[in-house]
């Protein structure tokens, strides 16, 4: 049979790609080397965090499943950065690793147009520059209109523990061979990357009384905007302890046998996810580093030792860990390891994640040089949507940098490429005050609805929410308040009192005045009670008022840049004979081949004058 979409790989990117394709009506086939590890969390059992939590909310707004699966399997929830401005609030959850995977498989199995097959894909079938299917290890051929590759760390994966190295895609799982070679024969360029993971240990061997208790939020929230999930009622804590100088001494003993330092690992690992040996080697003056004990689930003794990622020999790992308070009698389930794998520099992709070289072939996840479940999942979602759109002969769906972190993620990958595993940070987003976790639904659900991923009912819920919130804002914009009513509030927060009436909005926009101070002011109180406004809605009002000036400014700025993004560069544009371009610009532009002038302007080495020259040549 001819499928609409085949997804190779069943991790976070693969599962989300299958789900989005199937939801858009595509006949979808998932091929994975192991059907038991669909939705496997290969590293820490947590979802979200700063910038990543925002991505998960966006995935949810676009009809993805990551938020729902996380909510259904979470054991702890925290809203990070609560002490900073609301733009930076970031949800994060610990999940039950086994339930998470189980839940993902359950979601996919409930979709009638999803088929499954277990085997290793060894070859991508390419005819006349178009991808038409795949061939598996046992020689079976599957054909489809579009193919999505989400191979994670499996392509020619090599695991390192001390001086030992062996082939593998994840601990206890074999690697995948054939695809890299096949793609290279078709002109693709590949590279090597490295990442690592810490040991898993037996919680029964730890003394948690010597560690610092880390509870979840008192009033936990949740990831998904939908009402299918509810916040946690019971949570499981994590525990914090610290390394010391003795730990560092023991670790240093193993440096000679470390693949990181003896040269057997040559590829580049992420700077922000360093191994413990990297931390003590680079920051010699630090006497201690944080170690978090994170439970792997509700009903397991397994503990994930976060902060202790390492590829040192197993005996060194154990000796060093035993010096940390609470770990004196630690028993290992399995040691930490480093893994090297193939990736394909993402500048070889178009903005819909389709390869420039081979039509109908899409890449998502770590194969594009990213790291993190959330980054992978987001790409899976976008690749699944775009593969389906392509199969259905519809226009591609691309998010701009001012529409979502997902837009920033994909645009960065495609226009700038990456030399180390790419992770999202809020500092990468120039419009981060617009791209908040609280408004992901308002930003993206209308787009999902247009695509047909989101049904009318969900849209109606959003519209009702937005209209209530608009009523609340317009009340604050229009209603004046008397000095005798507002001055007690102003006095309380040490803001200067007023002699004349003024609009509520004006008072709330004072830096020290909070919405919770305003809701007890005489006229406001009755309005809030009558309209039954929730705390969340009042919070939304506050964000809107406090950030209004900036949001307008960011929107204007985004609009100005959009003018450049509207100017498309013809596909076959020849940069090499425009001598007015600098040499570097000619070279980079020919290599990256941006679609629009905006993308061209974001490439390092392309100056404003180069953009002006392009403008003139492309002009009309």
């Amino acid at each position: 049979m001819l499928y609409d979409v085949i997804v190779v790989g069943g991790g976070h990117a693969g599962s989300e790609a299958v789900a989005s394709a199937a939801n858009m009506g595509a006949q979808t086939l998932l091929i994975t080397m192991n059907l038991q590890t669909i939705g496997q969390m290969s590293c820490n059992p947590a979802v979200g965090g700063i910038a990543k939590g925002q991505i998960v909310r966006e995935i949810d707004a676009l009809g993805g499943y990551m938020a729902r699966v996380t909510d259904l399997t979470a054991i702890q929830f925290k809203m990070l950065n609560k002490s900073k401005g609301p733009a930076m609030w970031s949800p994060r959850a610990q999940s039950d690793r086994m339930r998470f995977a189980e839940c993902w498989r359950e979601q996919l199995e409930q979709m009638p147009n999803v088929s499954f097959f277990q085997d290793m894909v060894q070859e991508v079938l390419i005819e006349n520059g178009k991808c038409v299917g795949v061939k598996t290890g046992i020689g079976t051929t599957f054909r489809a209109k579009c193919i999505v590759l989400t191979n994670g760390t499996f392509l020619n994966g090599v695991i390192h523990i001390g001086e030992k190295q062996f082939a593998g895609g994840r601990s206890g799982e074999s690697n995948s061979k054939g695809i890299t070679k096949c793609l290279e024969q078709n002109g693709f360029i590949s590279g090597r990357m490295k990442t690592g993971t810490p040991p898993r240990v037996d919680g029964r061997s730890l003394d948690f009384s010597k560690m610092i208790l880390q509870n979840g939020d008192k009033n936990p929230k949740k990831f998904s905007f939908s009402e299918t999930t509810t916040p946690l009622k019971v949570q499981k804590p994590c525990y914090l302890s610290h390394t010391n100088m003795l730990t560092h001494e023991y670790l240093k003993e193993g440096f000679e046998r470390s693949p990181m330092f003896n040269g057997s690992i040559k590829s580049i690992g992420p700077r922000y996810c360093p191994s413990i040996e990297d931390k003590i080697n680079r920051f010699t003056d630090r006497e201690s580093h944080q170690i978090f004990s994170e439970p792997e689930g509700w009903n397991t003794a397994e503990i994930y030792v976060n902060g202790f990622s390492t590829s040192l020999p197993a005996d060194i790992q154990e000796k060093a860990l035993k010096t940390i308070p609470g770990f004196e009698n630690v028993r290992f389930f399995r040691p930490g390891y480093a893994i090297e794998y193939d990736y394909f520099p993402p500048t070889q992709l178009k903005h819909n994640l389709e390869t420039k070289l081979v039509e109908n072939l899409f890449f998502a996840g770590q194969i594009n040089g990213t790291t993190g479940y959330e980054e992978a999942d987001a790409q899976g979602l976008m690749a699944g949507i775009n593969a389906t759109l392509k199969a259905q002969e519809r226009e591609p769906f691309v998010l701009e940098r001012d529409q979502g972190y997902i837009g920033v993620l994909i645009d960065d990958l495609i226009t700038k490429g990456t030399e180390e595993p790419y992770r999202m940070f809020t500092s990468r987003a120039e419009y981060r005050m617009l791209l908040r976790q609280d408004n992901a639904d308002q930003r993206l659900m209308p787009l999902a609805h247009k695509l047909g991923i989101l049904n009318d009912k969900a849209m109606a819920v959003l519209e009702k929410k937005v209209s209530r919130y608009k009523e609340l804002i317009s009340y604050f914009e229009k209603t004046s308040v008397l000095p005798k009513d507002i001055n007690p509030v102003l006095k309380k927060v040490k803001s200067s009192p007023v002699a004349q009436s003024d609009k509520l909005f004006k008072f709330l926009s004072r830096p020290s005045v909070r919405a919770k101070d305003m809701i007890n002011v005489t006229p406001v109180k009755s309005f809030i009670q009558k309209g039954k406004y929730t705390d969340e809605e009042i919070e939304q009002l506050e964000i809107k008022v406090k950030y209004s000036g900036y949001i307008e400014k960011e929107k204007r700025n985004a609009l100005r840049l959009k003018e450049l993004s509207n100017i498309k560069i013809p596909k076959a544009f020849n940069y090499s004979n425009i001598m007015s371009l600098s040499f570097e610009a000619r070279e980079k532009l020919s290599k990256i081949r941006p679609n629009t002038l905006l993308q061209a302007s974001l490439i390092s080495g392309v100056s404003p004058s180069d953009v002006s020259v392009l403008l003139v040549y492309i002009g009309r």
Binding site: I50, G85, P274, R560
Partner: protein, 489 residues
């Protein structure tokens, strides 16, 4: 088809090449052009007709120039937008003052390199056959401006701007690290306090730079040049020769000039305030004593000193028995001795004098060459030609050489506008630095309430400095974060 309302900014720039011609053309393009005309010349002139108007600074109401003004409502204009042109009198001071007046109007921005041409193109004002040429033109335009900016940025100024960029980048990285990693990582709690202190420091430095930019001031207010020397060596004759009119009374009686005689001059396009002073000598005449006193003060506050000596009386110097620098020192000492005997002397004054013995701000003029044989001085001149000239005020001998050397010295002290457009780049730098300071001040206002809003100000401030030194990218910030902090689990 390219969007027609691409330009929402109103931009301005000097569009004629050099500031040294008789007339310089300043161009404004964008929706605020009419407003700018009203602000600067008090009303809108008849469209597409050259009118004479007085130009005023809209903030200080100071009269800047009387010039030709033309109003071109869009779309029939060079760029297709509303445009205005000011044909002002050439010269860096006037151009610079009108540019800064334009910059003081809210919503007006100094044009980016090539921006006028780009605007014209976007609005369909250039046809396809011109495309090729325009591409090269934009390139040439930006290349020249880039080189010019680089020239200006050479040396100290460049190092200064780069140091601000580095400091602010570090502040931004620390703030970003606090936002992205403080919750989960070991980031010191007091990191924002140290950022805040550093921001204050940089802000103060930039403000100081903005108010203490000598080159710019010299251009605006004129360079102080003083003629100094013993009585009766021909100082007033030299002044008159430079002025080409008898501004100072000349007589063979030593001590004729009692007060400082000032003349405002335009020397080769530069505004110069030339002062003739009383001859320096010990005297008991109270009026002459006051004259000497004033002369010494004028010497101390001057930018360029013309030391005038009687060639016939300086045999030691001419024969090479005395080194030139020793001669200058002994001459300065002599002034010091005089000032001491006049009871002017205080420590600061003498310290200041010692620091001023720098040959770059001195020209030594040997007068009365008509009384010597030229062979006697030719060797000496060959060796010290940069700083020394030999003239005769009486015959005019050597005067052209003197004027050439004088102009060279002035050029160095003011910055040479023929080497580009310092007033233009200057006003661009000023604009960005002012904006930078504005954002840095706002940073402090927000820091205690919302670190994200504060960070936004820091981002904007860095962006402004980046307009001068080169943009700061997200990668630059992350590089600093990962270098300075141990981040990640």
């Amino acid at each position: 088809m390219v969007s027609r309302n691409y330009g929402t900014r109103t931009i301005f720039a000097l569009s004629s090449g050099s500031t040294k011609c008789a007339v310089a053309v300043l161009r404004v393009s964008g929706p605020k052009s009419a407003f700018a005309l009203q602000q600067i010349c008090g009303g809108l002139p008849k469209k597409r007709v050259a009118s004479v108007r007085k130009l005023y600074n809209p903030v200080s109401n100071e009269l800047l120039d009387k010039s030709l003004v033309i109003w071109f409502p869009g779309p029939q204009s060079f760029t297709g937008e509303d445009c205005a042109e000011f044909h002002v009198h050439g010269g860096p001071a006037v151009v610079s003052s009108v540019l800064s007046a334009l910059g003081s109007i809210p919503g007006m921005y100094p044009a980016q390199p090539g921006e006028f041409t780009k605007q014209a193109f976007l609005n369909g004002k250039l046809d396809l056959t011109e495309v090729e040429a325009v591409g090269d033109l934009i390139h040439a335009e930006t290349e020249a401006q880039r080189k010019q900016a680089l020239r200006q940025m050479d040396g100290d100024l460049s190092a200064l701007y780069s140091s601000w960029r580095t400091s602010l980048l570090k502040c931004l990285a620390n703030t970003e690290a606090f936002i992205d990693f403080h919750e989960e990582e070991n980031i010191e709690d007091d990191i924002l306090e140290s950022v805040s202190a550093k921001v204050t420091l940089v802000n103060d430095e930039i403000l100081k730079h903005l108010t203490d930019s000598r080159c710019g001031e010299r251009l605006r207010e004129g360079l102080n040049v003083v003629i100094v020397g013993e009585p009766n060596v021909g100082k007033s004759s030299l002044l008159n020769s430079i002025c080409q009119r008898p501004a100072a009374i000349v007589s063979p009686i030593a001590g004729t000039t009692r007060d400082v005689v000032e003349t405002a001059l335009n020397i080769s396009g530069y505004p110069v305030l030339l002062s003739d002073t009383a001859g320096l000598r010990e005297t008991h005449d109270p009026i002459e004593k006051e004259g000497v006193n004033r002369a010494i003060n004028r010497v101390l506050s001057s930018d360029l000193k013309i030391f005038m000596v009687d060639a016939a009386k300086q045999a030691n110097l001419l024969s090479g028995d005395v080194e030139l620098s020793d001669f200058v020192i002994s001459h300065m000492d002599q002034i010091k001795l005089i000032s001491k005997s006049l009871h002017l002397g205080n420590k600061d004054l003498h310290k200041q004098m010692d620091e001023q013995e720098d040959l770059s701000s001195i020209i030594i003029v040997l007068n009365k060459m008509d009384l010597l044989h030229s062979s006697e001085v030719s060797k000496f001149l060959r060796e010290n030609g940069d700083t020394v000239c030999a003239i005769s005020c009486k015959t005019g001998q050597g005067f052209d050489d003197f004027m050439y050397k004088l102009v060279e010295k002035i050029k160095i002290l003011c910055g040479d506008p023929s080497q580009g457009q310092p007033s233009l780049t200057h006003s661009r730098h000023r604009h960005h630095l002012n904006q930078c300071c504005f954002h840095l001040t706002q940073f402090h206002d927000f820091l205690s309430h919302d670190v994200v809003l504060a960070a936004e100000r820091l981002r904007l401030a860095v962006r402004e400095v980046g307009q001068i030194t080169g943009a700061v990218s997200a990668e630059d910030v992350l590089d600093v974060i990962f270098r300075d902090f141990c981040i990640g689990k």
